[in-house]
Amino acid sequence: MGTNINALEKGFVKKRASGNVAAPYAMRVEQGLTEEHIAEISHLKGEPDWMLQKRLESFRIYRKKPMPTWGADLSALDIENIWPYIKPEGQKTNKWEEVPSYIKDTFDKLGIPEAEKKFLAGVGAMYDSETRYFKIRKDLEAMGVIFVDTDTAVQEYPELVKEYFMTKCVPAADNKFSALHGALWSGGSFVYVPKGVKVPMPLQIYFMMNYPGEGQFEHTLIIAEEGSEINYIEGCSAPRYDTRSVHSAVVEIFAKKGSRVRYTSIQNWSKNVYNLNTKRAIVYEDALMEWVGGTLGSGKTMLYPCSMLVGKGARAEHLNITFASAGQEKDNGAKVFHLAPNTTSIVVAKSIAKDGGWNKYRGLLKIAKGAVGAKANSRCEALLIDDKSRSDTYPEMDVKESRVNIGHEAIASRISQEQLFYLQSRGLTEQQAVNLIISGFIEPITKLLPLEYAVELNKLIELEMEGSVG
């Protein structure tokens, strides 16, 4: 098989291996969650008062909400003692050579400068609590496309932020972790695509969590105006520590009339990370929202990207591949609200579990009264590598309109000895046969990724699968 050495050398893969990195930083806010710490974060950022008030209000909501008792087991998470804000060295810049060398090294290994040259329209890189590099192609900037970190957006585009930030899409009160996020958010990307502008290549941001016991709370806000097109990709990575860290992002997407938005996230946090995110899109008339996800890392995940189909003919596609190995509990799924006529949604959730990994699919398909002609389909496919591993599905449906078409299907399968024998009879080793079957299994997702990422995702899974047979 054509082993791609580059992907192994540079990729997310290598990050995993090196856990003994020192964790430098320029400034940090003390451990623990208090109003003073929140005010300090806001002050360090030089934020306007309205944002500080928003943070404090979110924090009050957080205090009132109980920890969720459903989903992943969060009992071992000491959230009150996380490091809420770790500022890396250096300044925000759009010049790669100005990025501090330890940060540059990390992102160099992820192949970012090359990716930017080859197939990206813009790149961002976030290290712990702040971004250190953000750049977009000049021609796109000239067309009015905005791609900056969200803190910069607060300063430079306050009107847009006031209108869209944690207001109608994901309000702080949505859940315990969105409330916490509202209090502690930092970094993330702000994307604005003007009417009719089609961004020809993906924008990508990389997130790196490098400080033991930290919380990373980046906020992503994507506004795609009428008839525009945008393909946005996130990559997440962290070295392994024994201390538990929290990643609690909020992603808010506005797909206006006739627009197309593809949001892709490849997550490879280390297993000490609790990954508790809230991601939602409001999808207007005839717009298409695509969620593409590869969830490999983290110990506990709770993540249910949500599409609110509010306009006639709005469409959503949720495609996710989840991998769970020893010590990993992945509680993820998809939520779709059909709130207008002729809206359609497709959910394809694939999962692979080995060595006692546990995947759960938690889905909600809701069709409101009046959403005549709505079509909703979800399909879960679980691949279990051994008897220790587990896969559960909790598909919920709530249908208030009769003239609709709705379906759910769940399949769990194993790799059979006979199937392996067939592939081995053509000269593939047992491991190669397993890898080939798995790469085929995730192909519906990988084919939507830029080739480089598809290769990388396959490599990551192959690495995880090593020693799983024989």
Binding site: S416, R426, F441
Partner: protein, 243 residues
């Protein structure tokens, strides 16, 4: 080169199926093994290919005089043994092209060039009357019975084995498909390829002439002869040979 099964005893799930079978195939020869259902024909092909479900209790399988019993299936394949499956497996998401290229590169020092691969593939697909788009379909997924069998022979043509066992490649094929597949096999005949055709029926042997015909009953070869034996069997059936 020679492939030999010597006094082979094989059991499946504790039940003995092959009971002292002997067979010698030289490169360049075509052997046909015929026999009624349950006589152990598929057990023989699985045992030669090294399916772990089939346990060799005693006896030998030799490739060029050397035992291959300790070799895992993939090594046997790379050593030059090929099995055309009676029921090929489906592999979703893996295109026939991707699969073939992976398999071919397994037996080469350096990966095959795209140009060489494509021209080989095109040539053999044409011979088997397979439409081009098959190359980009997922391996065996949604293939009809006939398409699966063609795909097996295509793999054989691309992998260029020294010994090929065709396990009921003719079953489930209509007469036109049978002719195409048989023609494909006929084209592959060469002095460096030994072929073992396992079949119930005489009809495929009209198109691929065997040098030897063996009759298998209850885990043993009970009679061997030339091509004529096949047509005799067609008339008399196996009854006489089953006691």
């Amino acid at each position: 080169m020679e492939l030999e099964a010597r006094n082979l005893h094989v059991s499946v799930d504790g039940k003995e199926i092959l009971k002292g079978l002997g067979l010698r195939v030289k490169q360049g020869q075509v052997h046909a093994i015929m026999g009624p259902n349950g006589s152990g024909k598929s057990t023989l092909s699985n045992a030669i290919m090294g399916n772990p479900k089939y346990k060799v209790e005693s006896g030998e399988i030799l490739l060029d005089g050397k035992s291959i019993l300790e070799m895992p299936t993939d090594e046997r394949s790379r050593a030059g043994i090929f099995l055309s499956f009676q029921y090929p497996f489906e592999v979703s998401g893996v295109t026939l092209t991707n699969f073939l290229r992976t398999a071919i590169n397994q037996r080469r020092e350096t990966p095959i060039s795209s140009m060489e691969f494509n021209s080989e593939l095109e040539k053999h697909m044409k011979l088997l009357k397979m439409k081009k788009e098959f190359a980009y379909r997922y391996l065996n997924e949604g293939f009809s019975g006939g398409e699966k069998k063609r795909c097996e022979i295509l793999q054989m043509s691309m992998l260029k084995p020294k010994f090929a066992i065709l396990d009921e490649t003719d079953s489930g094929l209509d007469i036109d498909a049978l002719k195409t597949v048989a023609k494909g096999i006929e084209k592959l005949k060469n002095p460096f390829l030994g072929i073992v055709i396992i079949t119930h029926y005489h009809r495929i042997l009209k198109y691929v002439k065997p040098d030897f015909v063996h009759v298998m009953v209850d885990g043993r070869i009970v009679k061997s002869g030339g091509a004529k034996l096949a047509s005799e069997l067609e008339k008399t059936g196996y009854e006489k040979l089953v006691k």
